[in-house]
């Protein structure tokens, strides 16, 4: 009995003793014509109802992800001397944007099982259920997706980008690029100890087009014929205006 009690006392701090409280510098991003990207500050603190436990140090992982959508990944191969698309794999859901910031190298602060459960690392954040059955080289396609998106800056892992002071206060900046897709961006904050997630928090950044951008998008979607004819009208008027303008210049 005493032994069991002692055991519980030992493992208890690993459970809900430490919780995370956090805030975002902004929860709404407006995409206007001049939109050049946005920097979001994510800050927070670790709340404890007991002194900081012994053992592996506390670590923080912050992820920010854009709306997920299916992606077709095609690969080229040589056929009759020409490079042509030979095979394709559809990835069910891939976030349009995915950024991870951590206090230390991800492999050291998160176990594989926990990663699988919470879908934290980039490969885990991509949902590719059933692609292995569709194509034997499916992992190569998922890797290609990650490689291309990392090269374009849409996906990124920044190890050590979260600063944690006195084991309590943390902060990180997440840069949203200029090529941003509209939608709800999910921000998640994880506290880990010894590779195990001990608490997490989720928040949303609302990314919306505003003003002219909003108006044009709605018109294109809801009144495509009017939008198409308006595009034509602009083209015709611009063509005429240039012609008339140049004639005046020469006259």
């Amino acid at each position: 009995m005493i032994r069991l009690f002692a055991f519980l006392m030992m493992i208890a701090p690993a459970f809900a003793q430490e919780t995370v409280v956090a805030g975002l510098s902004q929860t709404r991003v407006s995409i206007t014509a001049q939109f050049e990207g946005s920097e979001i500050l994510i800050y927070g603190a670790v709340k404890r109802n007991a002194p900081e436990p012994e053992g592996p140090p506390l670590q923080v992982i912050i992820t920010a992800e854009g709306p997920a959508m299916p992606v077709m990944v095609r690969s080229k191969d040589r056929r009759f001397g020409l490079w042509v698309n030979t095979s394709a794999v559809q990835i069910d859901q891939a976030p349009s944007f995915y950024a991870i910031a951590t206090t230390a190298p991800l492999a050291q602060i998160l176990t594989g099982t926990e990663d699988l459960r919470h879908r934290i690392s980039i490969p885990r954040a991509i949902r590719a259920v059933g692609v292995a059955a569709e194509n034997l080289d499916a992992p190569a396609f998922t890797e290609a997706l990650i490689r291309i998106r990392e090269a374009s800056g849409a996906y990124g892992l920044r190890e050590g980008a979260v600063t944690l002071s006195q084991g309590t206060l943390f902060r990180a900046d997440v840069a949203l690029p200029a090529n941003l897709t509209e939608g709800d961006y999910r921000v998640r904050i994880f506290l880990t100890r010894g590779g195990v997630v001990i608490d997490s928090l989720e928040s949303t950044i609302n990314v919306r087009k505003e003003g002219l951008e909003r108006w044009l998008t709605n018109l294109a979607r809801q009144q495509p014929l009017i939008y198409g004819l308006l595009s034509l009208l602009i083209a015709v008027v611009a063509g005429w205006a240039a012609s008339a303008g140049f004639r005046l210049l020469r006259a």
């Binding site: 995409i31 206007t32 014509a33 001049q34 939109f35 050049e36 990207g37 959508m69 299916p70 992606v71 077709m72 990944v73 095609r74 690969s75 080229k76 191969d77 040589r78 020409l82 490079w83 042509v84 698309n85 394709a88 349009s96 396609f141 290609a144 997706l145 490689r147 291309i148 998106r149 690029p177 200029a178 090529n179 941003l180 509209e182 002219l212 951008e213 909003r214 044009l216 998008t217 294109a220 979607r221 495509p224 014929l225 939008y227 198409g228 004819l229 308006l230 595009s231 034509l232 602009i234 083209a235 015709v236 611009a238 063509g239 005429w240 240039a242 012609s243 008339a244 140049f246 004639r247």
Partner: protein, 309 residues
């Protein structure tokens, strides 16, 4: 100073304003000079700066409308547009284009539409470029050698033996409407498959198949391109929502100015020189696309986001 970036509402990418104005200007210049819509140039250039392919094709068509209107007005004042011929070509063109759009949709469902587009670019641009270059070099040699025998103006080709003859006064032709309707339909069909206005096929077809004078060809080609690309723009806007008005506007501003300068520059060159330059340009684009098919790409994989409606 701010980098002058603009976020494009439909493409959902941020691009530099001056890059777009410059692209529009270069393509507009060539358009005004040669009487081609420039779709075969603007579309690959937009891919290159990172605009999604579907949006590049549709918005490119919209830009071609503006530069063609600007160019046609310059030609109208010089009375170098054959309206009757333009309308006959257009009637065939719209029929061909409608058929082409249906075939295009069938092939994209089958998956190999990219290859088809690239191969038809290489084939048609290569063939037409080579033919034009050869012919215009020969013509140039003739004109620079005084006393050399000139080609007869009225050759009696097949076009003179068919029924339904119509007088095309501006072109100085009295021929059957059947060949122009067929040329229009063929060009409209290829234009829809390749996502372009079709000027680079139309111009040589008018010169070599219909025997029209080069000065009239440019204005008349531009006249019918306006309608073909206008039709394509509205089709794309209503079926795939892929016309980006902000992108189009910037390309247009650059394009219409370029087209005016191009039309002036075109007047200062001899018809043969104009044809040699166009032939070289067409061949350069064909060679670039052929190299893309023949050389191993740096990245073997490509992504196509599939937007849910």
């Amino acid at each position: 100073m701010a980098a002058m970036q603009l976020y494009l509402p439909i493409a959902e990418v941020s691009v530099n304003i001056f890059v777009l104005l410059g692209l529009g200007g270069i393509v507009g210049f060539l358009s005004g000079m040669f009487g081609v819509g420039g779709g075969f140039l603007i579309t690959p250039l937009l891919f290159f700066i990172g605009i999604p392919p579907a949006i590049a094709v549709a918005t490119g068509a919209n830009q071609v409308v503006a530069s063609s209107v600007s160019g046609v007005l310059a030609h109208l004042r010089r009375r170098t547009v054959d309206f009757r011929m333009g309308l006959v070509l257009l009637a065939g063109g719209l029929a061909g284009s409608t058929l082409g759009i249906a075939v295009f949709a069938r092939l994209s469902a089958a998956g190999q539409v990219d290859l088809l587009i690239q191969l038809s670019y290489v084939l048609f641009l290569g063939l037409i470029g080579a033919l034009m270059l050869q012919e215009s070099l020969r013509a140039l040699r003739r004109t620079t050698r005084p006393g050399a025998k000139l080609r007869r103006r009225h050759e009696h080709l097949l076009v003179h033996r068919l029924p339904l003859k119509v007088k095309f006064r501006t072109s100085g032709l009295y021929i059957s409407v059947i060949p122009p309707v067929c040329v229009g339909a063929l060009v409209g069909f290829l234009a829809a498959i390749m996502g372009v206005g079709g000027g680079f096929i139309m111009v040589p077809a008018m010169i070599y198949l219909l025997g029209m004078p080069t000065k009239v060809v440019v204005g008349t080609s531009l006249f019918q391109i306006i309608f073909i690309t206008g039709f394509t723009t509205v089709m794309h806007a209503t079926t795939s929502f892929s016309v980006d008005m902000a992108l189009a506007l910037l390309l247009i501003i650059g394009g219409v100015i370029g087209a005016q300068i191009g039309a002036q520059a075109g007047l200062k060159l001899k018809a043969e020189q104009l044809r040699i330059l166009l032939a070289l340009l067409v061949l350069a684009v064909a060679a670039k696309i052929a190299l893309d098919l023949l050389l191993q790409p740096a990245e073997l994989y490509s992504l196509t986001p599939m937007r849910l409606p």
